[in-house]
Amino acid sequence: MNKKTREPLFHITKRVNIPRWLPMAVRLSAIVMALLVCALISVLLTGENPLSIYGTILSGSFGSTRKTWVTLQNVAMLLIISLAVTPAFRMRFWNVGGEGQTLAGCLAAAACMICLRDVMPSWLLMICMFIASLAAGGLWGFIPAFFKAKWGTNETLFTLMMNYIATQLVAYFCVVWESPKGSGQIGVINQKTEMGWLPVVGGQRYLLPVLVAVALCAAMYIYLTFSKHGFEISVVGESERTAHYVGIKVEKVIMRTMILSGAVCGLAGLLLVGSVNHTLTTTLVGGRGFTAVMVSWLAKFNPIWMIVTSFLIVVLERGASEISTNFGLNKSFSDILTGIILFFIIGSEFFIRYKVNFRHAAEAEKEAKR
């Protein structure tokens, strides 16, 4: 008959009214806790001072003007791809094909630079590249959407498979356009003529992607929040039956949104080839198509918050690789740290939605009332 031993240790309740400050407070404390655990693990495994490790993370991202610009460019590219996949996610269309859609854009841009360089002036070539990459990305997004809308195929698998097709196509054309012959690589395209190289803005090579990312972020926010299309996307995402009921053509919205999603990925591809790298390789996108899923998700599909989340992830990644080189640790150590931090951030979502009531806390509350 001892009541105390039988009452559950804790019970979980869903939070009903979530105060505005709570989500951010929980996420911030998750990051702080993640950093503490990372520090503990670093000390235990390497014996290094955790503060100097965190210092290294920051100096790895912002240690010099060049490093800062590389970081900003990385953030910009990741942000653009994250913004690209977001409309699809808002529609509950799990587009994990950002990688392939971006690569398709890269391929189209490179194809224009190589095949059209002798027949038109550079400005016209850039327009062709722009159209071709957006169209290629859009097509890569449209194909899975079409099959989903018409026959209800699984979009996650479909977009995933489209990534491999894009990779293989790029691998093939790397051989077709190889330079020098026999290298199996393309090298820097149009190095001498700089044909089709997007203009350098403000004397800083990486400024263009940053500007594009900022503009796109604002545009995407407005599109999703205030436009009729954005509203349709939300309704389709929440309930296709409701969408149907109010006369929204669900199939059309799915296809339109995925074309948009793919086209913005294609734009990212254009920037990667035309502005940042001037070459084409199968690993040019570097997994950003997948990281973008996380960026978008962590920001709750809100374009403005994606600036923060993409920044966070890029800084972590760049800092972590700096640690490995500076402290003579292997690359896995940076992966461990990134893993821990992401685990905490993603895990914190649970505590935003649910509340854990501990037994003693509940009883203390009762006591206080008496």
């Binding site: 869903k14 436009s227 954005g230 039956r241 109010v246 006369g247 929204i248 053509k249």
Partner: protein
């Protein structure tokens, strides 16, 4: 009552969800050999309270005594070990398994289906259930599924049964059967608790009523010492009028002509079989039928949401012009200038978007208006304001997601939006399902006002008493066919009940209004 033993005793139970107090310091007793009805408006905490007894929620404060001993119920398993079983509104059965398999599912020990079937038959014989242990769930009617749920908890040794709105899905005849079984169980000394909104069921079945109001205990009465009026007043906390008005139809003329409508489901089953009728303006056409007799398909076919095999639905405008609706989607119907409003059965799954706030839900119908690529947010905001004010929707704010509102308020938002567009045809499916008395009367009143404004109303309902009081004509569906159309003012409940189960009713003759 002195000779009755207490089965469960709740002492000062409080349960909060965030800032909402769902149960507020409630104390009550459940006796053996008695049928107890729990009454209360939506959101008064009936289901929450019962969920705490059956181990689904854990009370924040207070204690529960079972058989006079203080106990802690942490899970449904704890509850069933104490002999407490709950039958939920939504059945939790595996479709592809048989009745017997579902009943033994999750039990420990060796699986012996033969032995189980024997025991199931014993239980059935003892109380008068009608269950074939080897029948698959997907072959069963709703009432059979419910019977399986009841047998399931009895099989596990429950002697305290809690039923959450058990009659919501049953025909009058099935309800009678259920009540007979419940009375048998009472005679054998079990404690029965039923949660219901229907007054006449409380009066017919229960021995005692406990009334809850906004989470608080509002009193109890022996059923024989009270009446519907008094119980309603206790529930609402003030005096309420209990009559449904039925104004005479206003200048009725044909508005919607349905001819030979035949619909098959995706599996190829005939859902509607050559259905023909005419709905008039200024009139309420009630549609009665056992659930799943084609009501949903009928409304969805008219609204352009359901592919149709054959037949036509013609909209007749005031000036006599005729427009065919079949083959058009909801958008095309709206673009033709046909003001068709539809309150679907599935409020949050179809009529509204649960995670969106009131403003956005108002916008669902109107967001396309205007040439700007951007949505106009001001007008829906004003619409939301006026709906909340006129229909007295209880909501923390206009920015609250509608899924957080209680059932009655969700329905008010939906009906409010559909009426705002000044429809000429209003389709409603189970408009008051799950709503408490007060909200129900608000909805009846709204529908009547539409009728008086000259709207052709098609009202699909499940509570025959209400249909008989509200509708001008009643169309009875039976297995997808029109079993008959009878005038609402002279229709008898028994007659409609028979027409629901047999084409044309008892003597097989077709009656027309």
């Amino acid at each position: 009552m002195e000779n009755k033993t207490v089965a469960v005793s709740l002492k000062n139970i409080t349960k909060r969800f965030g800032s909402v107090v769902a149960s507020d310091n409630v104390s009550m007793d459940i006796y053996r050999g008695e049928i107890l009805a729990i009454l209360g408006e939506n959101g008064s905490g009936k289901t929450t309270l019962m969920n705490m007894i059956s181990g689904i929620y854990f009370p924040d404060e207070g204690t529960i005594e079972v058989n006079g001993k203080e106990t802690v119920i942490r899970s449904p398993r704890d509850a069933i070990n104490l002999g407490i079983g709950m039958i939920h509104q939504h059945f939790k059965l595996v479709d592809v398994l048989t009745a017997a398999e579902n009943i033994v599912l999750g039990l420990e020990g060796r699986l012996n289906l033969k032995e189980a079937s024997r025991k199931i038959r014993e239980i059935c014989d003892a109380y008068g259930f009608d269950v074939d242990p080897s029948q698959k769930i997907y072959d069963m009617s709703v009432s059979q599924k419910q019977t399986v749920e009841i047998v399931k908890v009895l099989y596990r040794g429950a002697d305290i049964l809690i039923l959450d709105e058990p009659t919501a899905v049953l025909t009058p005849q099935e309800t009678e059967k259920l009540f007979a079984v419940l009375r048998n169980m009472r005679e054998s000394g079990k404690a029965i608790v039923i949660i219901t909104h229907k007054m006449h069921e409380v009066e017919e079945l229960s021995d005692r009523v406990v009334i809850l109001r906004r989470g608080k205990y509002a009193g109890q009465k022996a059923t024989k010492d009270t009446d519907a009026q008094e119980m309603t007043n206790m529930m609402v906390g003030r005096s309420v009028e209990l009559n449904i008005k039925r104004p005479e139809p206003v200048a009725p003329k044909p508005r919607l002509e349905v001819k030979d409508l035949t619909v098959r489901s995706e599996e190829g089953i005939v859902k509607l079989d050559h259905v023909s009728f005419t709905a008039n303006s200024g009139e309420i056409l009630g549609v009665a039928g056992i659930s799943g007799s084609g009501q949903k398909e009928l409304l969805e076919a008219i609204a352009g949401l359901q592919p149709v095999e054959t037949g036509s639905v013609t909209y007749i405008e005031d000036d006599g012009r005729r427009e065919e609706l079949i083959g058009k989607d909801p958008l095309e119907i709206a673009n033709m200038g046909v003001a068709l409003s539809f309150v679907p059965e599935d409020r949050l799954g179809m009529g509204l978007v649960g995670s969106m706030d009131l403003n956005d839900n108002m916008m669902l119908r109107s967001f396309r208006e205007g040439h700007s690529p951007f949505t106009d947010r001001k007008t829906p905001h004003h619409v939301a304001e006026s709906v909340v004010e006129e229909l007295q929707v209880r909501t923390p704010s206009l920015e609250t997601p509608v899924s957080r509102l209680s059932g009655g308020n969700v329905q008010k938002v939906l009906v409010g939006r559909e009426i705002t567009s000044a429809p000429s045809v209003l389709l409603t499916a189970y408009a008051v399902r799950g709503l408490d008395i007060n909200s129900s009367y608000t909805i009846y009143d709204l529908i009547n006002r539409q009728k008086q404004a000259g709207v052709a109303v098609i009202y699909v309902g499940e509570d025959l008493d209400v249909l008989l009081e509200l509708a001008d004509r009643i169309l009875v569906l039976c297995g997808g066919k029109v079993s008959g159309i009878i005038p609402g003012r002279s229709a008898l409940k028994q007659e409609v009940g028979l027409m629901m189960t047999r084409m044309g009713g008892s003597n097989g003759e077709q009656k027309d209004a």
